[in-house]
Structure formats: C-alpha cells, structure tokens
C-alpha cells in the first residue's frame, strides 16, 4: 500500500539535498546538475547508508522505493521529450568535414575501446545470463555518450555558445545523442528479445513502422500546435495536455514494442516543430517542474542503487580506474585528435574533446536502462556511475585550464574589433 508519509518525506529530503549540494557545487564553478547528481549518490548506500544505516533504512525502506522510481521515470519521460525538443537538425548543417569527422570519431573511438575493456571486465563483472555481445555493445554505447543538456549549459555559462568551438561541440553532441540512442535501442531489443515472450519480428517490424508513422504522419500534424502558438502567443492548457498525451502515447508505443519508454518520448521531442520561440515556450513549460522536482528524484533513485566502494574489495577500484581512463582516452582523446586533423588549432581541438567528454545525466539514464534490463551488474553500474561523475566533474576546471575564459574573451574582442 502507498505510504504517503514516507514518499512525501523522501521527496522533501531529496529536494533539500539536491538544492544544497547543487548550490555548493555552483560555488566551485560546477554546473548545478553535477551537484544534484552527487546529492543523489550521497543519499544512497555509498554515504548515508554507510554512515547511518539506521537513518537510511528508516528514510528509504526498500518497499517504498517503487513509488520513488515511478515518479522518477515519469520525470525522465518528460525530460527525454525536452532533450529531443532542444535538438535542432539545423545545428548539424554547415559544419561539414570537421563536424562529420569529429562526431563520428567521438562515437567510434570510445565505442571500440569500451568493447576492448569488455573483454577484460565481462568474466569479472558479468554473468552467463548476459551475452558478451550485449555486454560489449552496452559498454561501447555507455562510453560514447555525451550529455547534450549539460554541455549546452556549460557552453552557455561560459559564453561559448556562438564560438566556432561551441557550435561545433553542440553539432557533434547532437549527432552523438541521436546515434547513441539508436545504438542503445538496438541493444535493448537485442537483450529483451532473448527473454521476451513476443517474437523478435514483432519488435523489429513494429519499431520500423512506429518510426515511419512518427516521421511521416505524426510530424506533419505537429505544426498545427505551432500555428496555434503564433496566433495567440501561447498554447491553451488543453493543447499542452494534448502534447503531454502524445508524449505518453509515443513512450507507451516504444515500451510495448520492447524498446523502452524513453525512446518514444525522445523521438516525440525530436520531431516537434523547431521554431525558436515555440521551442523556448515549450521548454519553459516542461523544464521547470522536471528539472526542479522530478530529476532530483531520478538522481536519488540512481544513488540508492549505487554502492560506490561498498563491498567488492580493492579490485573494484582498479576496475573503476580502468573504465575512467578508457572513457577519457576514447572520448576526449578521440574527439580532440579528430578535430585537430580537421584543421582546428590544438587549443580549440582540446577544448572540444573536453566538452565531448561530459557524460553527466545522459550517462545515468543509459546506465539505469542497462541495470533494469540486466545487461550490467550492480558493481558495473556503480563503476560507470563513478565514471560519469568524474568525466562530468572534470569538464569545467579542465576547460578553464586549456581555454581560459579571459583568453576566449580577448580573442572575441579582437574579432569584433577587426569586423568593426
């Protein structure tokens, strides 16, 4: 039975912890979301459960976690819609050679290195209920993801959005996001069809039919929302509710097909009209509740499943070090080298690599899917969460070191003077 007292108490504690740690992280020039992710980990067995097991058990009894999970999943569905909404195909146009090379290398290099790491980690952290192919592909996908929303926020905070490096980073991250989600959808289908009662052809044919319907039928109907917005300068509550229902139906369709709820929500956002005012309006409508209320619940739920340093012995730290080094080498190194080959100066190429290495929240989303479908073990999950935290945390200080804000400002001033 639903224990409302516990649920409301949990939400209150999570929100306070998220805002507090987020505030502290902002003080050290980290994005707020980084602090919220850490707050989630601190509330789990890695800290609270370790320091005060009694308090942790009283605050988060296992039976109550399903409600917290349900709320966080609803939040993720809306969040993935927002991520898809913010994705603009025009970001990808006009960057030619450099964007194509950098984005493809930033996927291929970490993907390959992730697969290589899987050769070592599969017998140590997995079991024979998972095929090597599923494990290796998941490792590759998880290594190659870039947190598009966090990256965009860092660029915006540093005033780099309109720089060549900033626009290229956004273009590459957009390609990475779409590619990463397509690969992940394939892995989920691969893992789920092995255990599912539904024949594989239903999932595959159904997924193709679903994508075609979304692209050629639903997408043509969506500009009606934009026209209505232009007429009245806002959307009525009823129309916003219709958009929410469309997101939920799309999410349910992909879940029913055996892919995952989140793919449907993401695709719905991706095919929405992209007029800037309309997108901004919808982002404003959906973002605040999701970012302030529901995402911290997801971080806390992730933290409650993460046991960093609890059990497993010293070898877990060794595996963590391997995963972190491989993740950084593949993503940062691969993107940087490709950008340099495409003609970018070293400083900008290195900055691009650092930005592409930001995994943040998108990594946590993918890891939770991996744990849910059983393709990664709890220890592997904890290691990858640690990798996500490290790669996200290092972005801002490393970027400041390689491409200081004062240097960028001086260069921009120089460009503006020459133009004038």
């Amino acid at each position: 039975m639903l224990d409302l007292f516990h649920l409301v108490l949990q939400i209150a504690v999570i929100l306070v912890a998220a805002r507090l740690v987020g505030f502290l992280f902002q003080k050290i020039h980290q994005p707020q979301v980084m602090g919220e992710m850490v707050a989630g980990i601190l509330l789990g067995p890695s800290l609270l459960g370790w320091l005060a097991p009694g308090v942790s058990a009283a605050l988060f009894p296992p039976a109550s976690l399903s409600y917290l999970n349900a709320l966080s999943q609803v939040g993720l569905v809306v969040f993935m819609f927002v991520v898809g909404l913010a994705l603009n195909p025009s970001d990808l146009q006009g960057y030619g050679h450099a964007a194509v090379l950098t984005s493809h290398v930033s996927i291929a290099a970490p993907f390959c290195l992730g697969g290589l790491t899987a050769l070592y980690l599969y017998p140590r952290l997995s079991d024979d209920g998972v095929t090597f192919t599923g494990f290796a592909l998941f490792m590759g996908a998880a290594m190659s993801i870039t947190a598009f929303p966090v990256l965009a926020r860092i660029l915006s905070e540093r005033g780099l959005v309109r720089s060549r490096m900033g626009t290229l980073a956004i273009a590459c991250a957009a390609v990475d996001d779409v590619t990463g989600w397509c690969i992940l959808a394939y892995i989920v289908v691969l893992v789920r069809v092995t255990h599912a009662a539904r024949p594989a052809w239903v999932t595959i044919a159904g997924s193709i039919a679903y994508v075609l319907i979304m692209l050629f039928v639903v997408r043509r109907m969506l500009p009606a929302f934009e026209r209505e917005f232009r007429k009245r300068d806002h959307l009525s509550d009823n129309l916003v509710a219709v958009i929410v229902v469309l997101v939920l139906v799309s999410a349910l369709a992909t879940e029913w097909l055996g892919v995952h709820l989140l793919f449907g929500a993401f695709l719905m956002g991706a095919i929405m009209p992209k007029a800037p005012e309309f997108t901004r309006y919808l982002l404003h409508k959906f973002e605040s509740v999701t970012v302030v209320l529901l995402l911290p619940l997801f971080f806390a739920y992730t933290g409650l499943r993460t046991r960093i340093g609890v059990g497993g012995g010293r070898e877990i730290w060794f595996y963590s070090a391997i995963v972190i080094v491989v993740a950084i080498t593949g993503k940062l190194g691969g993107s940087m080298y490709a950008a340099r080959l495409a003609g970018m100066p070293w400083r900008e190429a290195a900055s691009l690599g650092i930005l592409m290495n930001t995994r943040g929240l998108m990594e946590l989303v993918i890891l939770n899917i991996g744990l849910d479908i059983g393709v990664i073990s709890p220890a592997m999950f904890a290691i990858m969460v640690l990798m996500a935290l490290v790669t996200t945390f290092m972005t801002t200080p490393l970027l400041e070191w390689v491409y200081p804000a004062r240097l960028f400002k001086a260069q921009m001033d120089h460009v503006h003077k020459n133009v004038a």
Partner: protein, 127 residues
Amino acid sequence: MAAYLLLVGVPVLGLLGILEAGRGIRAPLSVGGEWAVEAEGGPPRQLAWTISQSGPQATITLHDGTGTKLDARIDGATLTAGSPGGAVAARIAGRVEGRRMEGEITLPGCAPVAFHAVRQAAKKEGA
C-alpha cells in the same frame, strides 16, 4: 577521406574483431534474482532470498524479517556464502543447476539443514 577511414573505419573493424573474440569468453554462472527456498527434513519451512550478482561476487539478502545480508562467491556451479567479515552468523553452501539450487544452510542458533531452491524470475534490477 583517409583520416575518416583511419579514425572511424579502423575502430569499427576493431569492434567487429572484439565481438568475435569475445564469443569464446565464459562469464560466471548466473545466479542473480529471487529464489524460493524450501528446507528439507522436519516440518516444511519456506524461506526466500534475493541474490544480487556482479561476476563471481554476490550478495544474498535473506527475506527473514531482518534482511540479513551474506557475501557470496560463485565458483563454477558452487555457491558459498557467509556473513560479511567472516562472522559466523549464517552460512550457505549450494550447487546450482539451471534454475535450481541444492545445498545446506546454517542460520543463527540453528543446526545446518539441507535445502532446495528454485529461481523465481529472470535476473532483473540490481536495486
């Protein structure tokens, strides 16, 4: 073009090679999930436990009202578990075959008893 082939084509081919090489690697036996346990001999006693597995290491949570946790290790088809830190409170030694497990369990204050267990559902959720 040459840079693209080198930086994208080579990793893709490498990945294909890795997937092929990985087919021969064996991972530890899967034991994760919910197990329904029945003690043998004496009056029928029902017990249940959940195994959370990461490679050869696992944690067994007994559904005994107190949520006792045991550290376990899987070696081939054999599972051995004891209280964390080596404290002698509870012990399990079992042999796994498919979805079934047989062995001996020693609970605090009780004599060792034989048991057989059946895995309830496919491994899912590591929470």
